[in-house]
């Protein structure tokens, strides 16, 4: 075990993956010698050489198109998009190509070895081009997995599992947690399962579902609710696609209430999908309407960031409304 922050855990996962499999290559803007603007790829070029860890020209479209070709050849690319907000220039390559390679070729070719890493999310005074949470756009495309860790331990285990998964994975890193805290992370190789949620806290009155940095928000809101005698069950989805509907459904059948929290705008956000599924599978168990505490349906603001965020106070109030319905 070692104490690592989230960035160090990612770095450690990349080192493990590159040591273990020569086909693994890590690249993106500023990723080479400098180690990326957040330094997640520090020392990789020194350790593994410029052929396996390198800077690319400044083109997200180029990075992902290149990665698709590389993956379809059998290499194992781990491509970095510097900020989630800048994944959109690569949208066509991801949506029409990465995700559909296998399907359209009848399984002859695929981008299954590709992992795309990108920091996402707000709370860092980054304004609307350094704060977006684009998971829902990608959840709408069949053919790839979406994974989001909430702490250093998860980051390493989930990233290793993503790199080795037979499907292309979009691995989204909550950047406000990058250096927020350190925790125990095994130095050895380990994987955490994709598509499986993590029950963060057990409870009996209401189920709170979230992912990434928002889990902390849920925990704080749950503490406030506990003072009112409300017992919250907190579920970290960890994978947005495929998502662990079973874990959520089981929990809601027990608690009778559900609240979903995410930073992305509410309309068309992934909370809608969860809410629809849960009302389908738990209709007779529900004692209150499903609550969503999300970002507003506006671009991500700068000066009004605090107001925009689905924080613990908004979450706590929504818990109360749900309990008192």
């Amino acid at each position: 075990m070692a104490k690592m922050n989230l960035l160090q855990a990612i770095n450690s996962a990349l080192i493990t993956a590159m040591e273990q499999d020569k086909r693994v290559m890590v690249f993106g803007e500023d990723v080479g010698h400098f180690g990326g603007v957040f330094r997640a790829t520090s020392n990789l070029q020194q350790k593994f050489g410029r052929d396996r860890c390198f800077n690319t020209p400044l083109t997200e479209q180029g990075i992902i198109g290149f990665a698709n070709g590389l993956a379809s050849q059998g290499s194992v690319p781990v491509a970095e998009i510097q900020f989630g907000d800048y994944i959109f220039p690569a949208f066509d390559q991801i949506v029409n190509e990465t995700a559909k390679f296998r399907y359209r070729s009848g399984g002859q070719f695929s981008c299954g070895t590709l992992t795309i890493r990108t920091p996402y999310g707000g709370g860092i005074a980054g304004g609307h081009y350094h704060s977006q949470s684009p998971e829902a756009f990608f959840a709408h495309i069949p053919g790839m997995k979406i994974v989001i860790p909430r702490n250093p331990y998860q980051a390493k285990g989930l990233l290793l599992a993503s790199i080795r998964d037979d499907n292309p994975v979009l691995f989204m890193e909550p950047k406000r947690l990058y250096r927020a805290s350190v925790s125990d992370v095994p130095e050895d190789d380990y994987e955490l399962p994709l598509g499986k949620a993590d029950i963060v806290e057990e409870g009996s009155d209401i189920t709170l579902v979230g992912w990434g940095a928002q889990i902390e928000v849920l925990q704080k809101a749950a503490e406030m609710a506990l003072e009112d005698g409300v017992s919250c069950e907190i579920i970290d989805l960890r994978s947005i696609l495929p998502w662990d509907a079973e874990a959520v459904v089981d929990s809601v059948r027990k608690t009778g209430r559900l609240l979903v929290n995410h930073e992305a705008p509410q309309t068309g956000g992934f909370a809608s999908e969860i809410a629809a599924t849960v009302q389908e599978k738990c209709f007779l168990y529900l004692e209150a309407p499903i609550a969503r505490v999300c970002g507003l349906d506006t671009p991500y603001p700068l000066a009004h960031e605090k107001e925009y965020m689905p924080d613990q106070y908004k979450t706590y109030e929504a818990i109360k409304r749900t309990m008192n319905y």
Binding site: H33, Q61, Y129, P301, A303, H304
Partner: protein, 395 residues
């Protein structure tokens, strides 16, 4: 129907004939020597004393602004800043060759062009403090300026997006019969984006009066130019797209001015795009979030410090008898004062009222945003202490 022949301009050869980069030589225009005298055979552009001084003063002003704002960022007064140190001539002298009616679409390191157009110190500060007087209503990070009156398009962070937009804007100007062009600034890094290729091709084919102005400053954050492109630069790409192209010493204000003047005339008279590649160096860190000691040497920087465009211009102006040392010192001092007091002023201004979180998403606020705003306001009323910057005005 017209009979078209796309081979009409293609010559033939009977040996395998590979054209390598380097065979097409695109020389770099230089007019001023580092000592302030003219290169032999160089022709001084048609520039008045008044314009020369304005260019010079704006470069000095920009440098003062940059120094002070980097300081302000270190003190935690603003969250972020990007300096143009070392590149002032490329930006200011090109802007000086334009008409005020020309649209400027910039990347983010072109504060000098905005200053040249007359953006005030207070306006710079209001944007950087994202306060209520910021025309962007506090929605974007510091340095994302924009001013409709000054024909300066509001900056967007995603790189390269302004390049095809500039083609479209210029086409619109042409169709509206305007006596104006568009200039579009970007870095050699952004020239790798797909938008660059799309934008140049559109402009060339649709005959758009636009100047694509590339600041080739050697770095895109930590990525050196040799890891950005394999050719000799960006200029050769202009030729590939059929765009008239000129390469210029970006640290030579006279060369930049002359090149841009020519390019503007061409764009306007012939209704065509022109690519200018200004060869310069990003002396500053990429931004206040960056540490260049991690990827380049002090030695390398010092070599470029010796090519400072401001010094070069000062030497030339001295030779012309257009430079007053005392007045210059006073100007720098008064700029420093002006920045400091405008900064203090901007710090005092409140942020926008909470209603502005939903305004401008659409032309009118639709029902669902109205509802979200009302919910947000009730929530702020419940927890006023948690949202101190807005709660005072939520009644």
């Amino acid at each position: 129907m017209q009979d078209r022949n796309h081979l009409a301009r293609v010559s033939t050869t009977h040996q395998v004939n590979i054209i390598e980069n380097g065979l097409i030589d695109i020389p770099m225009l230089q007019i001023l020597k580092p000592d302030g005298s003219l290169h032999e055979q160089a022709v001084e552009p048609d520039i008045s004393e008044q314009t020369a001084r304005k260019i010079y003063d704006t470069m000095e002003y920009t440098r003062v602004l940059d120094e002070r704002m980097i300081g302000a960022q270190r003190q935690g007064r603003i969250s972020f800043y990007l300096a143009s140190t070392g590149e002032e001539a490329a930006v200011v002298a090109s802007a000086a060759a334009l008409s005020d009616q020309d649209m400027i679409m910039s990347q983010y390191r072109e504060q000098g062009a905005l200053a040249y157009r007359g953006y005030t110190t207070q306006q710079f500060m209001n944007q950087m403090f994202s306060n209520e007087k910021d025309p962007n209503k506090g929605r974007q990070m510091p340095i994302h300026y924009g001013d409709k009156e000054l024909n300066f398009m509001t900056i967007s962070s995603p790189l390269g997006t302004q390049i095809p937009q500039a083609s479209g804007y210029a086409y619109g100007q042409k169709m509206a019969g305007k006596d104006a062009i568009t200039i579009c600034y970007f870095g050699e890094g952004a020239a790798s984006e797909g938008d660059f290729h799309a934008g140049l091709n559109m402009a060339a084919v649709l005959h758009c009066p636009v100047i694509f102005f590339c600041r080739n400053n050697g770095y895109a954050i930590s990525t050196p130019a040799e890891e950005q492109f394999a050719g000799d630069g960006i200029a050769s790409r202009g030729l590939g797209y059929g765009v008239k192209t000129i390469r210029v010493d970006g640290n030579d204000p006279l060369a930049v001015f002359a090149a841009t003047q020519h390019a503007r005339k061409l764009a306007l008279d012939e209704k065509c795009p022109v690519l200018i590649e200004a060869m310069t160096y990003r002396l500053a860190a990429h931004s206040t979030s960056d540490d260049p000691t991690g990827y380049r040497s002090r030695d390398e920087e010092d070599k470029w410090r010796a090519k400072d465009p401001i010094l070069r211009m000062a030497k030339w102006m001295k030779q012309k008898g257009w430079f007053d040392e005392e007045a210059n010192k006073k100007l720098i001092e008064s700029s420093r004062q002006a920045v400091l007091s405008a900064l203090k002023e901007a710090e005092k201004v409140a942020i926008n009222p909470i209603e502005d979180i939903v305004n401008d998403v659409y032309s009118e606020v639709p029902w669902h945003l109205q509802e979200q705003l009302e919910n947000l306001k009730s929530h702020i009323r419940l927890y006023p202490q948690m949202y101190p910057k807005t709660s005072g005005r939520v009644k």
